[in-house]
Amino acid sequence: MKRLLTSIFVFPMLSLPAYAQGIDETINSATAPIAKFIGQVVFFKIPVGEADLPLVVLWLVVGAVFFTFYMGFVNIRGFKHAIELVRGDYSDPKSAGEVSHFQALATAVSGTVGIGNIGGVAVAVTVGGPGATFWLIVAGFLGMSTKFVECTLGVKYRTENPDGSVSGGPMYYLDKGFAERGMAGFGKFMGTFYAIGIFIGALGIGNMFQSNQAFVQFVNVTGGAADSWFADKGWLFGTVMALVVGAVIIGGIKSIAKVTEKVVPFMAVFYCVFALIVIFMNYDAIPQAIANIFTGAWSPEGVVGGALGALIIGFQRAVFSNEAGIGSASIAHSAVRTNEPVTEGFVSLLEPFIDTIVICTITALVIGTAQVAEPGFALVGVQGIAMTSAAFEREISWFPIPLAFAALLFAFSTMISWSYYGLKGWSYLFGESLKMDRLYKLIFCIFVALGSMVQLGPILDISDALVFLIAVPNILGLYFLAPIVKREMDSYFSRIKSGEIRKFKQA
């Protein structure tokens, strides 16, 4: 395996420089048709008026709306309680040392806060106009309910391994949940379906998209697409990135991952603080930018498909960013030990809030205020993260560099988290053997490298298509298992009311 690893990484490195000029192009032209094909087949779109409604968006939104109503707006009702849980008000000091609610939330958030929050929002605003932001927020709000359901189930139906570690997530709750309802065969099928989805999907949303956008921003700060020495060397950037990711997940160099996990939350705060500064530097433009978000949501100008077009793109980017309905966070949350699986559901509903309603909206306002202050700003040839970067640069000239650094770290931490999510799906299918484990991680690294070589368009197509693949079995399962969650939630709420569940800390 080691030799295979060496030959895969080293051999192309030795032979590539000679053809370096054409490498990125070659790979691009080779993958574009594949991406297009996958995009068309899996990512089926229904034409609605002028806009195309991707089936996946409809699927996730209908699910989120349903869960919001079915759980009686748990995203509002449970919000305060979620914060109390994270603060540790209800934690028994005797169980200190176990994974805390805060830790599970922090880990899940650093898996979701990624390039989507910086680059994905720019894509939404470019295609859907400022109004897309409104729908992005709505989608984040509804997504909180979906997260609540899937993370509660993740804890309830996790598997404890003989070595004391836990494995949880949709493949386990689909499997066991359906078995409980007397549909063991169907559950097995759904679990397997999901496991396949997540391990392939991990290569898109949690991998290629991240590495691609990190590279774009890297080129951006080293001279731009025209001048940067790195501009046509995506293969080099990708290979280095793949080697570092490989060092962590294959080489087991935990220190890199640990450092990243510790730095990412601070980076997120740092990003938000500077974004707010930039927004307030454009304070003249704030009222107009906010007004644009609302008017654009209902009657956008120049957006294909009008309001519906804005809605679709907003929802799509939100889902892509906060991963509600994809079930990935439920894998991270399942590690929390609690007698009340619902508590983890409450905590997890903060994720779409932090990720989408707070961070994505802030990014959208940075771009929105820049557009108001300078009409025609960055409209030509700039897309994704480059656009966000340009909006920052207008006010703080040196910001693209720390932004590139932040993007790199966000991308990196998201990739580390997703490599684990994907691996869990893979090991659900193939068992926990070291050989298969290595094989998966190797594949994962190769896709990291590929991500930097291809263009954003095809990557988005592939990633979106793969998200759909994961969301189908997950949401379908959630519909069936939602009554179980509702029962637990109702019982939990009534026990809080009766005082049976009390805070441990006294003020």
């Binding site: 200190a96 176990e98 805390s100 880990t107 004391g164």
Partner: protein, 144 residues
Amino acid sequence: MDSTFLVAVDGSEGSDRAIEFATERALAGKAKLVLAYVIEWSPYSFHTPEELAERHGRREEEIERAQTKLLGPVAESVKAKGAEVEQIVRHGHTAQTLADLAGEVGASQIFIGRKGESRVAALLFGSVTASLVQTSPVPVTVVP
């Protein structure tokens, strides 16, 4: 047997002296000794998903090791001298957890060994003993 003494144990020389001193007091006053070892841990730290999945197993290991390797031998030797002993291992912020434990076991006082850190070190990293003295609900005896 009317009072309970809480003794902070961390395997250092200072804590050995504190145990010795507390044992003498306990035997003289017919008190029960509670030996407590706190594993420094914060619920607000950041981890990878893999670390989270393994956390429960790790915690059991840590507690097991502290109970058998660290507290076990100490408890044996104290018992041999004729005092009644209980041992507790807990995760958390050391000083805060000791203060909480004192309330939980109903201790009438806490014994803790002095580490003899330099003033600079104490200033930089804070001293467990000093912060325990500040937060404890019961009298604290600092054994030099």
